[in-house]
């Protein structure tokens, strides 16, 4: 018998304890729980199709949610593909966020303190302003920088004696983001997964083939057909592109920066849309509107230039330590002060073209 809490939050420590008490051998799962096994498989297939989990959650006494989650985790580990892992974590994070809006303060506290070891208090009052919550600043910083938005910067919070004062909605957003990181960081070491019976094989093969077709489709649509362009990207852009390849959810400024940059170097709207297809929350209609807006084809018609280096630094998007040219570290491209990643790109294009010319001679 499990609690409603475990069904709703099957990634939690409470759920892990519950499963441990059941003492189930994962090798026997297809035999003893064939339906759950199929459900976990179908959920993953579904995640790859529309990146969503079923909306309805079974919270009955014999709810299978915790077991389904555990089987999905085993599949994700065995497949070991970054973008599946990201979509899986993102889906449970979204579900958690939706659920928490109607949960009691006690549930929020239990999840945050038991599973994430967060220090958190409810119903506090400071200097005449009522905040619902306070959270230790270091717990806040485990998550908030990933959200990359001005209202999530520490400087825009009310901080007092090491506590960040929060309203409920913001706390729920933080817990949801932490859920994602928690799931991503809790990898099962490969040596802890025993040799699995053959009954696993058809499921794993089916998942793998689905993944291969997604990857193939994704790669064929990438803009990297031109080797010079690919190698000319500044490290900040390369870093974000790698995240998209892994299906990692990009923060809003990352999406904007990538779009503005690619539009400025002449990438087509279709090619940019293809890049965003791996995003866990991809919606073609919305993304198309946004990219077309940035390209000046909608709204006021304003075309946006790429973010400059100071702005990238302030968002934590500057990746100068990854620059093999050393241009970002010295802040100069051919003796000119580097102010914008577009300068880096043109400088590198120039260098690579020269190299190619010399080769062809």
């Amino acid at each position: 018998m499990q609690s409603i809490f475990v069904s709703k939050f099957p990634f939690s420590k409470n759920a892990a304890e519950y499963l441990q008490n059941l003492d189930i051998d994962i090798r026997t799962l297809p035999t003893y729980f064939p339906n759950l096994f199929k459900e976990a498989f179908n959920r993953l297939l579904n995640l790859m199709e529309n990146k969503k989990l079923p909306e309805k959650i079974d919270i009955s006494l014999n709810s299978p949610e915790a077991l389904i989650y555990a089987i999905m985790r085993v599949f994700v580990e065995l497949i070991n593909e970054d973008f599946l892992r990201n979509w899986f974590a993102e889906a449970y994070s979204k579900r958690t966020e939706n659920l928490l809006h109607s949960e009691s303060p006690k549930t929020l506290i239990t999840l945050a303190s038991t599973t994430f070891d967060w220090k958190i208090y409810n119903e506090i009052q400071i200097a005449g302003r009522t905040y619902n919550w306070k959270l230790r600043f270091d717990n806040f910083l485990e998550v908030a920088p990933n959200l990359m938005a001005k209202d999530w910067k520490l400087v825009n919070q009310h901080l007092n004696k090491g506590w960040v004062l929060l309203v409920r909605e913001k706390l729920i957003r933080l817990i949801a983001e932490k859920t994602k990181l928690y799931i991503l960081n809790r990898k099962i070491p490969r040596d802890e997964i025993p040799n699995l019976p053959e009954s696993y094989t058809p499921y794993l093969n089916a998942l793998q083939s689905k993944i291969n077709s997604i990857k193939k489709n994704f790669r064929s649509q990438r803009i990297f057909s031109d080797e010079i362009n690919k190698n000319a990207y500044p490290p900040c852009i390369q870093f974000i592109l790698k995240k998209t390849e892994k299906g990692e959810n990009l923060a809003h400024p990352e999406r904007l920066f990538l779009t503005f940059f690619l539009l400025n170097i002449g990438t087509s709207i279709e090619d940019i849309l293809n890049i965003f297809k791996t995003q866990p929350d991809y919606n073609e209609e919305i993304t198309r509107y946004q990219v077309e807006f940035a390209a000046g084809k909608r709204g006021s018609g304003t075309k946006y230039t790429s973010f400059g280096c100071p702005k990238l630094i302030s968002y934590g998007l500057c990746k100068k330590e990854l620059d093999e040219m050393n241009w970002c570290i010295t802040g100069k491209v051919f003796k000119k002060v580097l102010k914008n990643p577009l300068q880096y790109y043109s400088g590198k294009i120039f260098l690579l073209s020269l190299k190619q010319e010399n080769k062809s001679k």
Partner: protein, 411 residues
């Protein structure tokens, strides 16, 4: 001849540094976890920087320092599993102290125009005070300057009060740190101080979290509306509140009080009488429930005023030092090769009485040197200079200071 003099000077300084390191280094160093730290040295001759070094204890470290006598000595704020590995990935980071580096070089102190000079490396244009961002000479636009700065008592007092403000206003009030137990301070040996936070929670913070903390104390990225400021807000900030809500208000009051009418006119509209506005706004913002409203001052003007105040009074720390987990920082107990001053570690309680011109002086005796040029300066209780092409007997610490700065030679 010039080269020979320079070599003699270096040899002399290295020998004096060695004497200090032999007798006092182990007592002054006081660095924890030596075996987990990376060390870096800048040598006198040949002039080169070597890092990725490891020492298993203070004895080994002292032995190396005494035999090589480096000009500058650095250690990592981080602890590593393999501190001597050649790259950061292989070093395997354990954790890293949180550091704030405050240098007078980044603070526009009023006395700088009296003691600091700059020369444009491209066109040779000269000026006094802080070097500009871009050379003011027509068609030059260079960003590169040779700077000649002096350690000045007024500047160092300003640096000290900035350090107190960071510790008390931010680290204690906002972050809840206990200044007496959670941190220590290091005089850099030249023009600034470092705050080291050793508290376990801070040591574990990643680079992104450190960026957020340093942005917080600098006020960087602050949006007034997230702190309750907008003309329509029913809960506007007041100066008695904690965090940036109260600080933002106090900064604006200070800015209004300290800024000249011309400075204020750049922000406030010309349709207002600046003297009256200044008085009225200060009175209003000093109240418990300021309305943050005034005829002819719109929301954007208020925001500009808040931003100008934060720009002026926010902490002026060197941001990359705080963010970079692999940064090397001056080793406490070493000597600064550009001044001969001791890099001195101290507790929060000792900071108030610390005088770099007395407590960071380590040399004894006296020597006769040839001083080319130097402004007036103090070492201990005695003032020296100004000098212009003079041969003079000076106490050893004063002479070494001038020799390190390259404005004097041995006779």
């Amino acid at each position: 001849m010039v080269i020979e003099k320079s070599i003699n000077r270096q040899k002399f300084l290295a020998e004096k540094f060695r004497t200090f390191y032999v007798s006092k280094f182990k007592k002054e160093c006081n660095l924890s976890d030596i075996e987990y730290r990376e060390f870096g040295f800048f040598y006198w001759e040949p002039s080169k920087f070597v890092r990725h070094l490891r020492f298993i204890n203070i004895e080994n470290l002292a032995k190396h320092i005494i035999s090589k006598v480096p000009k500058h000595i650095y250690s990592s704020a981080a602890r590593y599993e393999v501190p001597n590995a050649p790259n950061m990935k292989l070093k395997s980071l354990i954790d890293c102290e949180l550091i704030f580096d405050l240098d007078v070089d980044h603070i526009p102190t009023p006395c700088k125009k009296d003691h600091d000079k700059w020369v444009c490396k491209q066109c040779g244009t000269t000026g006094t005070g802080m070097a500009p961002k871009t050379c003011p000479a027509k068609k030059c636009e260079s960003h590169s300057f040779e700077e000649m700065s002096w350690e000045c008592e007024k500047c160092m007092e300003i640096a000290k009060s900035e350090i107190f403000s960071i510790i008390e206003e931010f680290l204690s009030n906002d972050f809840g740190l206990n200044p007496k137990t959670d941190l220590f301070i290091v005089f850099s040996g030249r023009r600034g101080y470092h705050i080291h936070i050793e508290n376990e929670i801070y040591r574990k913070l990643d680079s992104n979290a450190r960026r957020e903390i340093v942005d917080y104390i600098m006020g960087k990225g602050l949006v007034p509306s997230y702190h309750g400021f907008s003309l329509k807000s029913g809960n506007k900030p007041n100066k008695f509140e904690t965090g940036w809500r109260g600080r933002m208000t106090r900064f604006v009051i200070k800015f209004l009080k300290e800024s000249s009418p011309n400075e204020l006119l750049k922000i406030l509209t010309r349709r207002v009488n600046i003297i009256n506005v200044k008085k009225d706004l200060v009175a209003q913002l000093n109240s418990r429930n300021p309305s943050w409203s005034y005829p002819n001052i719109g929301e954007q003007t208020w925001v500009n005023l808040i931003n100008a105040a934060i720009e002026k009074y926010g902490a002026k720390v060197d941001q990359p030092v705080t963010i970079d987990l692999h940064r090397l920082i001056r080793l406490p107990g070493s000597l600064h090769g550009k001044t001969g001053f001791l890099v001195k570690k101290m507790s929060y309680n000792e900071l108030e009485k610390f005088d770099p011109f007395s407590h960071a002086q380590v040399f004894e005796g006296s020597i006769r040197i040839h001083v080319h040029t130097a402004p007036q300066f103090r070492i201990g209780n005695e003032n020296f200079g100004p000098f212009k092409d003079q041969k003079i007997e000076l106490p050893m610490s004063a002479a070494i200071y001038l020799l390190c700065k390259g404005v004097a030679n041995l006779l």
